[in-house]
Symmetry: none
Subunit: 204 residues, 4 copies
DNA sequence: AATGAATGAGCATTCATTCAT
DNA sequence: GATGAATGAATGCTCATTCAT
């Protein structure tokens, strides 16, 4: 019986992933999940007590691992990578394993307990950026008038990464290329623009 | 009576803004809006004939002003600003009082007539970026392997601008400072990072 | 004040007649009646406590007069008209005075206390027909196997009359012509048909 | 399960028939139907996807059979029955088990797809009557001053037939007797009455 | 007296959850 | 264990009726 149970549980989770991915937590239909799992609606409730529990069951380990990885103490990390690059790298490596759950967690979890995860991640990156950049910027003689800029940069970074991950689902090579190009071009575009006096004036 | 009416209309709009902001157009509840506005469900319909009409009443002026500004004919513009900078500048000039509505329009309008506005805006910026950058990048000897990168950059730009507008509603000066810093720091951060061999290796 | 009141009452009644005539009791809208009467919705309730009361106020005198005329004791009638022809004649003369209320009463009163009036009228005519015809038919040697036939004939008569009245609203001459032709042709059509052997066989 | 399902489906249909018969399609309440069927409102929707679908499910077979029979090509009929008698005969052959549905179809279907069926039927019979009678009446020297009389006769015929079908559901013999008596008595009643001078004067 | 804004129960329909089998 | 029928509260919306002004 246990074998059968596990098989059904798997098919529920599989169908749930499809549904949550497509519709998000709020708009996902338990009926659709059960139907696509090949079981009766009521039977799903033998495995999970509610839509929320099902969602959390799927997302919790991923969320745990992710928050452990990302929000854990970076100081404990022996290697001396710049912390932000480290975060980006960790997101990318994390994505490789649990890409679907990861996207749902960050983009489709409205209404669930995870609905703030994306903002938390942005806040973390913001903090890392601050820690990391403050001294370097000072060394370069750049003054940051408004600390909120770190929040902006962090959210842009996440937005870019999520768009890339969404578009290139499963194609790790393309993901890495796009992320590195994103960073590089972000650089070059504005470097070019800087030379344009009208553009520069415009940003006075 | 008119005074009372206006007061209620305002409280409906205020409650609706909260609700649309929190749940999005589709998941917003008219009953909740009415309750939070302190009126009976039926009474809301004296002010707005449908959920859609309420949503559009709030969003339309913002949408009109915005699409007119952004999607209007850029060629007709006499000055010779780089087109993308122009778009950015126009978005920047678009913040004053409607930033909440603007955010809802771009992020919470699924199910309404505005549901594609954000992607359309990103597509427009993507197009402008391509037009503008292709020759300049060639001149710099930079090869774009994946055209999708322009889409990423465009969406990041929008994300950054939206966050700024959201945060700084009404503070023109702060918005201009943050946007210019955003562009500048995007530049500098990765310029600095480029010097880091581990970071560079990581982006191979 | 009383004068004003009467004027408003009249305009309510007039608007109500239009509305009941067009939509029937059930689907009539109090709002529409008030609007067309040129008063506020709430004010209508100073004159009539409910939709039902308004309907009844308009219909009661007509209904009273009609039932008095039609359902009263025919024996008390001095002249010796055949009773059924009398009923038809009375309906026609009644209609001349209160045609609109009459039609509403018989055709648009579903949901009100008058919803059975039409059936009652048919039952009455059925009864009159029975009383009147039994002896005459016996004298002619015609045997009625099924008493329900009188109900049929009565309902057909009413149906014909109502259709005529509905079509020829206000054109009394046309009404009289059509009713007499209806009776005459009913006669002739089947007289003609009777000569057709196939038709006769069909009615074996 | 299937047994239970059929039982409930029947009770829904039974309750729906009662409700549609009493209130008509438009004013019928799904809640009332569900309550009278002894089930929860939501459960009704497991059996029928909408009020319209429930109505059509009940009415469609009757409607199909009826319109096929009546509005089909009469020319294709090999036998040489007078066309009107043919229509009457066909309606007569149409009673068996569906008289309630048939009455709803013709009298209580406003708001549904069937709302014009009765008038269409009357129009058809009116047309047949005109075609058929024009020459015969001319031959008899009878002048029809108002063509609308055919419409009246057609609607009376339908009314009579419907009343008979309603009353005698399933009793083929009684239906045939009543219809032939209806036609015969319509004839004889006024033939008798014609001899009464007061009656004749009254129809001047 | 009169206004028309406000109420709240009603409508058809949906869906997470429970329950009889 | 499993089924899917059943529940009932929720949705957007309407309208007879009431109430503050």
């Amino acid at each position: 019986m246990q074998y059968l149970k596990d098989e059904i549980k798997s098919s529920i989770i599989s169908a749930a992933l499809d549904e949550f991915e497509e519709k998000g937590f709020n708009d996902a239909s338990i009926r659709t999940i059960a139907r696509n799992a090949g079981i009766a609606t009521g039977n799903l409730y033998r495995y999970f007590n509610s839509k929320e529990e099902l969602f959390n069951y799927i997302m919790e380990p991923v969320s745990e691992r992710f928050t452990g990885l990302i929000f854990g103490d970076f100081k404990a990390d022996a290697n001396n990578l710049p912390v932000l690059a480290d975060v980006v790298d960790k997101i990318m490596s994390f994505y490789e394993k649990d890409s679907r759950e990861f996207m749902i967690l960050l983009d489709k979890s409205e209404g669930s307990v995870y609905q703030n995860l994306k903002e938390n991640l942005i806040d973390l990156i913001e903090k890392r950026m601050k820690e990391e950049l403050r001294s370097k910027l000072k060394a370069e003689g750049i003054i940051i008038a408004d600390e909120f800029i770190f929040h902006i940069l962090a959210s842009m970074l996440i937005e870019g990464i999520l768009r890339i991950l969404k578009q290139c689902k499963g194609d790790d090579r393309r993901i890495r290329i796009l992320i590195s190009q994103m960073l590089a071009l972000n650089l070059n575009y504005f470097e070019i623009m800087k030379k344009d006096p009208v553009f520069s004036r415009n940003l006075k």
